[in-house]
Amino acid sequence: MAKAEKKRGSGEILGVLALLFILVGLYVALIQAPPDAYQGEVQRIMYIHIPSIVAAYLCFFIVFLGSCLYLWKRETRDDILAKSAAEVGVLFTALTIIEGSIWGKPTWGVWWTWDARLTLTALLLMIFVGYIMLRSLIEDEERGAVCGAVVGIIGFLDIPLIHMSVYWWRTLHQPPSIFRPDKLPWENIKWPLLWPLIINIVAFVFLSLYLLSLRIRVGETEERIKGEMLGGTA
């Protein structure tokens, strides 16, 4: 029990950190940072758009790690981790697409366009929605966990392949602002716009980890109840 309490405590610390960083992040993004020279105020959506997709990729990477660990060691803990991360990841991917649409309308004039990175993000959402559906449709727990792990791994490894194919196909999105092969991060974006973005990325990472810890707790409780119902002690 002491272990569970400790875990809960660390989860709450993440929550407090997320809250703190989000408050500071909102302040610097909405008030402190100057408006963009070309796009004006609407560009401030960037301060949640990029953090959302960073959080989503972090979650899908955790799905990948959890899936690999599960196939290797067969511990329910890793499966709960992967399953929970997939749900949080889907949430942040959906948020990214919605925010992007709202940003796209005033800047590009359309809600949606078949650009490489938009397409990739939408496909990512579909792959992991498929993952969640698979988990709910296989009744046998262990088999569901194994199949889920396989989809989690293939889904994650498929991301660069999809990226490559849709990138060749077409691209219209503004070039990546932060992570570019040809320049260092601080050369692409001016410092007054960069540091609010960094604060918001940290905030979203904490937020996603907090949500993840909550979801894991739910998963563990489910597991314990199942164990008790079967007559064993968890």
Partner: protein, 225 residues
Amino acid sequence: MAFLKQTAWLLWKDLLLELRRRESLLAMFFFGTLLLFIFHFALDVQPDKAADMAPGLLWLALVFCGTLGLMQLFQAERENRCLEALLLSPIDRAAIFLSKVLFNLTLMVLLEIVVFPLFWVLFNLTLWERLPWVFLYGLLGTVGFCVLGTLFSALTLSARGREILLPLLLLPLMIPVILATIRGMEIILRAGDFQESLPWLHLLIGFDVIFLTAGILVFEWVVES
């Protein structure tokens, strides 16, 4: 050598079963032909536009028919728990996977041999000399489809609502193969230049190799439990 022999025996078993039952293949043939008719009614394709639309329509027909075939793929193994018997026998798991892929591929290629020329006839396409190149792309795309399809067909064996789950999982992951195939076919039909479409051909072969390797590696986990 033993591995190839096992694969060949398993493939022979599946082909023999199909030859006697003729369930999958006939259904796929008729469904494919039917789809071509439906496409024509839905889009009212003019002869001058047919070449532009051919790659997309052909792929739609193949994906629909292919999914139909995938549903049946492990049907024989499912009945009377034959899959477990197969897993208990001293056969390499990779051979089981490969034989299923090859069986599925055989069905799809037979389907393509009928559907592709039929498309040319029904839609009044005159570019007969480009058909072999289009067929090459179709074949390579089908390899990718069969590899991933076989894997996911095995994966969803014990799931409820398998019919909807299988395409839902398969299609997003298949996008690289679908895109490369369609773009390649498009360049050939528009420009008639095989050289120009080569980058897509290389990409497609790359995807096939990656998916095949990944499939062989993970298949063991998919069938074990």
